[in-house]
Every structure is written in structure tokens, then in C-alpha cells.
Subunit: 453 residues, 2 copies
Amino acid sequence: MGEIMTPRILSGFIELLPGAQLRFDEMRRIAEEVYESFGFVPLDTPAIELSEILLAKGGGETDKQMYRFTKGENDLALRFDLTVPLARYVAQHAGELSFPFKRYHIGKVYRGERPQRGRFREFYQADIDVVGDGSLNIMNDAEMPAIIYKVFTRWGITRFRIRINNRKLLGGFYESLGLGSLSAEIMRTADKLEKIGEEKVRAIFTDDLGIPADKADGILSFMAHSGTGDKTLAFLETLRGSNALYDEGLDELRKVVEGVRAFGVPDENFAVDLTISRGLDYYTGTVYETTLLDYPEIGSPCSGGRYDNLASNYTERRLPGVGISIGLSRLYWALCDMGLIDTEARRSTADVLVIPMTSDRAAAIAAAEAFRRAGVRTQVYFEEKKFKGKMNYANRLGVPFIAIIGEDELAAGEVSLKDMRSGEQNRMKPEEAAKLAADVLSAEKKRPIVAEK
Amino acid sequence: MGEIMTPRILSGFIELLPGAQLRFDEMRRIAEEVYESFGFVPLDTPAIELSEILLAKGGGETDKQMYRFTKGENDLALRFDLTVPLARYVAQHAGELSFPFKRYHIGKVYRGERPQRGRFREFYQADIDVVGDGSLNIMNDAEMPAIIYKVFTRWGITRFRIRINNRKLLGGFYESLGLGSLSAEIMRTADKLEKIGEEKVRAIFTDDLGIPADKADGILSFMAHSGTGDKTLAFLETLRGSNALYDEGLDELRKVVEGVRAFGVPDENFAVDLTISRGLDYYTGTVYETTLLDYPEIGSPCSGGRYDNLASNYTERRLPGVGISIGLSRLYWALCDMGLIDTEARRSTADVLVIPMTSDRAAAIAAAEAFRRAGVRTQVYFEEKKFKGKMNYANRLGVPFIAIIGEDELAAGEVSLKDMRSGEQNRMKPEEAAKLAADVLSAEKKRPIVAEK
């Protein structure tokens, strides 16, 4: 026997206990189901790539945060997002793919950030992207919020708003003010509006960027016209004609807003927000952010946008696309932290625990199979414990039903099905018990994972 | 614009094209479904662990194959299997778990092996384990083959045999021959019987291990009694009483065989095989291997066994268990290589492609939602191409149905649903089309991924 080593994981890493894992996986499965219902194919690329591939774009922060190492002669790294691997994949396999290419990828990514509350070094992202060959219709930009709306509402989240903007519109507007060269910096500053407030943003505009006071005010008053749909569009129309890029952005934004509505997303769940721009130069048109209305402090759990050229580092083929990404691990953590996860939902690893009270096991196995045929997750308790020990296990597991098989049940070819919540217990044939349990459980399976307060 | 870099992944790594990925994921989901139907909880542990945790057991080959690196002050490594993380997890969270603890884990593991055909450096394992606290009933050993039987048959694989043995039985038999001290070496040699043949095994017994010729023959003739069920057990009974460990192993093996049968596994899909022992000293009782009857050369796609103490490196608590692991990536690769994967199954990322022929998009979006409500995966083709271009895309995607909305359909609030295989096309309401497509597809979804020849 060796020495006993304290079992532990690395700081900044997480793992879940069974109930929490079941609920996380359910959220993940709902996302998969919705993504697939829109014709996205699941992709799964290696977690390890060549460092030069991951760093092709160049980037300061990312580089420092990367888990990078050598093995043999190879300089390797763990992926820090799912977008760079997508770009590499699409460039590599372009000849074998059909465009528009719709893919989803729910996978772990790695960032060696300083650990802090709710930030993890290994976490799940749930990405969807549509990639075109040469061009991609703007309706794809409208579909993204519709998909996210479905995912969130099926999770049980309704108090959210997807905020939509267009970087051409912003860029065109700044150009029209003669501030085209400052466009990127203005966007980065405006992005912080919610965090640091109007006063500070104005100060950066005037003091740091040297924008004249009247123009700074103009930008701030422009951004203040954010809001749901038509009113904002009506205001934006008043500025039409001042700049070609602006007009192009406005046309796109209008089509996206009209499209999102055509997809059935209610007005309270999306808005035009003229302050957001996603900072990154990578995005070239539509941009998205999402706010949980009662918990804006957790930041955007779902963001993305339109890009002109996905894979310019790996191919000369122009591949424009649009994508959106849910920070699944962080969102789940935040929902838990805010007490919004319904811990009674999917709390048990089994729906039914079959408990044989005699030494006979065959009847228990046969009964369990009857339950499984009805779609009921069923465990047989095989251990030789006293009745109390068996019931303790059932209680700890949190199973909604137990099916007891004692001498009498065995003789009659029946089980005693007990509803653990109501305490009600009845003897019946296993098939009957399976149907009864399946009916009760099918209603419960619709219970959403998130219970808003 | 930077330089164009050739997009590529590391040698020994794999990724799949869309159709293949859909089929792989379907196999994975079936495994998940079956595992959950038996009351297993999904676990998901970090892919990176502290090196000292992964190496607690000590081990030559594993150590060399590990992806190990430092980040800051930490000595890290990627997991090389899912068993060591399970041991660490159970020891760490023992107070919060209910025993027997049933978990499944389908995840990637990493081994920096020399790349060779069908061997990967990053691959999926699909593990199930039942871990007891202090003790664990032998019926759990009988349940494992029943679960694997279900997974394989649902995949479409029926020509397989799960081979079962018991290391106590073997150990007891060798003890009864006065060869107890050579037990581990005899097992390791016997394990190679299929690969190197009886003559060579006998030579190792006599020449390398110094076993007298008559005893070597005795072992070989003992092992030759392998076979399905009762006949082998009857032979083994003739040796009862010669050794206490042997008798214990025989009792266990009998219970497992009877249990596997009670679980409904047909006699042709399991056998007692007295040659297998899984090499590793880790296993202490039941051991499993699986053979694809028509492709024995691919080795065992699914193996495992009973262990006395899962986590002795991390806790003083005795945690016996039994587990079995499917080498999912390798099995999938082998099935592809042998041409057994039905590439017509789940070949398209969507079931229906809705194709608007006018500039109206709202009707297409509404029709797509009608399909989705019926559980049909539906993509809308938003790009502005000529009819031929649209049809080319549908053909390349491989969708079973397209729903065309031209002027006439738009006016009538209908779609023209075309079955792409039969060529049949009919106009109807979207809800009607959705039901029709759903009916056809629900039959097709039952088509197994593996088509045995």
C-alpha cells in the first residue's frame, strides 16, 4: 500500500455532483436538440491543436492564457475557443462540405486565467455558426436570436433580452461625424457604457480620444435611442443618406429585426442596442449580446455576430459567416449561484428503484425491464441490506418511485409501487406499474431546469 | 493579410466529416440512453488533472505516454483513462455520494502513443462503473454484460460475444497446482493464447516460467473447457473442493452466468472463457472481454472487470466495484474500416430543406416551424440562388425531403413536399407535410448505424 494522497482537482477547474450534473447535461441536451432542429450538424474537433494554428491570428491575452506545451517535436496547445478550430476545420475540409455550412459545437475550452468567482479555466461553450462560401444571406443573422430564444425558454429562462446592433451602422455613423479613424476606439469605449456610466464614457471620448464635446454628445444621444424595434428603426431612418456604410448597416439591421420577429421572437426578448459592438474587430456587421433582465451583473451569457471572413489565416477562399456562443459553464454556475436552478428537477439518477425483499433476483430484473421498456430509468437494488438500509438508499438517491417485491408480490407476479412523494403504495403487475410511473414522470420531465423567481 | 497557413491537425488525432459525426454521435447517444436506463449518472471530470494524482498508482507505460506539462507552478497532465479520475472523484466526494454509486462517463482520454492504424492519441472511452462502500453484490457483475448487450444490439451489432472469466477461479486453480506464486505470470501468458497460439504459450510456461510439462498441459486443457454456459460450469464443478479461492471464484462465476441469463442476454452473445484475465493486477474477480465474431482481429472493443478497491491511493475507505469500458473511437473507426457503418443512416444534417422560390421568407420560416413542431429537423435555404443551385445544395446535403414554396404555394398557404428518394411531389398544408415527413422519418430513425454483412 502506498501513501494516501489527498484527492483534489486544480484551482480554477470544476466538476459537479450527480444531481447538478444531470441538470447541466439536460441543459446541454436541450441546446443540442434545438440546434439540430434548425439543421446544424454537431462537430467535434481535437482539444489539442498545433500552437501555430491556434496562434495564426496573433493575439496578446489569448497567447498568455493558453495551455501550451511540447510533446516530442510538436509545439501544442489546448484550444481556447471553438471559433479558431472551426476556421481551421472549414478551411481544411472546404471541398467536402456543403455551403452554407451550419455547425454546432458544444465542447470544453481552456484558458489559464487568474481564477476568480464564476470564471473557470476549463469550461463549456455551446457555439453555432453558419458559414457561407463567398456570401451569406442576412436572414441567417435573424435566425440566430430565434434559436437562442428557443434554447433559453426551453431551459425555463424567459426574463432575458437579446440585444442586437450592427457595426456597419456604427462605423458609418462615426464616419459621417468625420470620426471614421476613431471608429474602433469609440466602439470599444461605448461597449463599457453600462459598466462605467455615461460621464466616464464622455470623458474618454473628449479627453483620451480628443473628440470635440458636441460630437461626443451627439454619439451619446445617438446611442440613447436604443430600444425595442420600430421606434429605434424610425429614429435611425432619420439619419439615412448621410453615409453609404451607415445605410448598408441600417438595411441589414432592419432585415434582422423584421426577420427575428418573423421567427416568432416576442418583442420583450430582443432589442436594438446601439451601444454594443463586441469590441473585437473580427465582427463586421450584426452583433449580439444577451442580458438576463433580473441579473444584468452576470454579463452576457450569449454573444456573437457576423464576420466577413472566417478563415483568412488558413485559406484564400472567402468564407463569411454568423455565429453565436453560449458560455454554458459560466451561465450554469451563475444560475446556481443566484438560486435559479430548480434542484428538485432531475434530482435522481433513476426514476424507479426496484427493491427485492427476498433472495429471488429474477423477478426484480424482469420488473426493471418492464419499466425500461416504458422509458423509465430503473435501477435494481442488489445489495443485501435490512429493509431500513434499502429505504435509506432510496431516500438518498431521491427516486420518485420504488417498486418493492416481497414474498406476496413474488407469488402474485406483481410489484408494490410506492410514490415516494405522496407515500401512496399499490400492488399491481409490473407493466401496469411501468405505465403509471411513465405517465407521472413524463409530466415531470417537462419541468424546466431553471425556475425564475 | 498575414501568410496563409496550411490547415491541419496533429498526427494521431482525428476529426469526422458531418455525416460520420452524426452517426458517431448517434452511437454515443444510444450508449448514454442505455446507461441512463439502468440508473447510471453521467459524470464529467476535468480533462486536466495534477500529474501526481494521475500517477499515484505508478505505472511505466502510462507515464511515458502522458501529455504532461507545467503551467505556472503546477505539474499537470491530460487524463489517460477515465478510471483514475473516477477513483479520485469518488474518494474526494465520498461523503456526498450514495453507494452503490453508478456512474457513466463518455469522454476523451489522451495517450501519446506511437501513431498507428486505428490507434489514436485522443479518443473516446465510454465507461460504466458501479462502486460499493465496503461491499458490492455480485449481481452487479451480471448486469454489466446485459447493459453492453443492449448497447451493441441497438447499434446494430449482433455478431459479438462477451467473454467472462473470474480471476479468483484462475488464481485458485493455479494455487491448487502449487503454482500460486506464478499466478499473475500464467494469466498474462494465457491472455495471449489467441494471439500466439497454444504451442508458444506452452513453451513460455515450461521454458520461461519453469512449469513442469504435465502441469503446463493441465493448464492448457483446463482453458480448453471454455464455452457457453452450462457445460463449462459442469466441468468447473468437477474441480470443486480442491482450493477455497477456486470455489469462491466458481460461485461468483456461476452467479454471473445465471444473472446474465436472467437479464435476457442470449446464450450466443456471452461465454465463459477461461483464457482471459485482463492482465492488470487491478482486477480481482470477474473479468470481461468482447469479440466481434466476424472481426476478431480488431481485439476487444469492450473490456473490464471487478476490482476490490477502487481508490486506495486517495482514501482509506474500501470501495469495491465493477466496470466495463467501450473503446468508442477505436470501435467506430474499425466499423468504418470494415465497411459496416451504414453511410445512408443519418447522412443529412437536416430532414427537410425548405426552399423559398419567391422573395417572401415569412412563409418559409412558418413552414419550417411547423416541421420542427413535428420533431423534424428543418433548415430554411435563405440564399438567393437559381433553382438549380438550390437543388444542388439539397442534393449535396442529402436531405430526404424538400419543401418548395413558390408563388402558387404561397398564395394557397401550402408547400410542395418532395420525397428526394422516390421523386414524388405533392402540394399540401405545412402541418400535413410535417406529419407526413415525421411518419416516414420515424421509421428511418430506427435504422441502426451498423449494418452487419
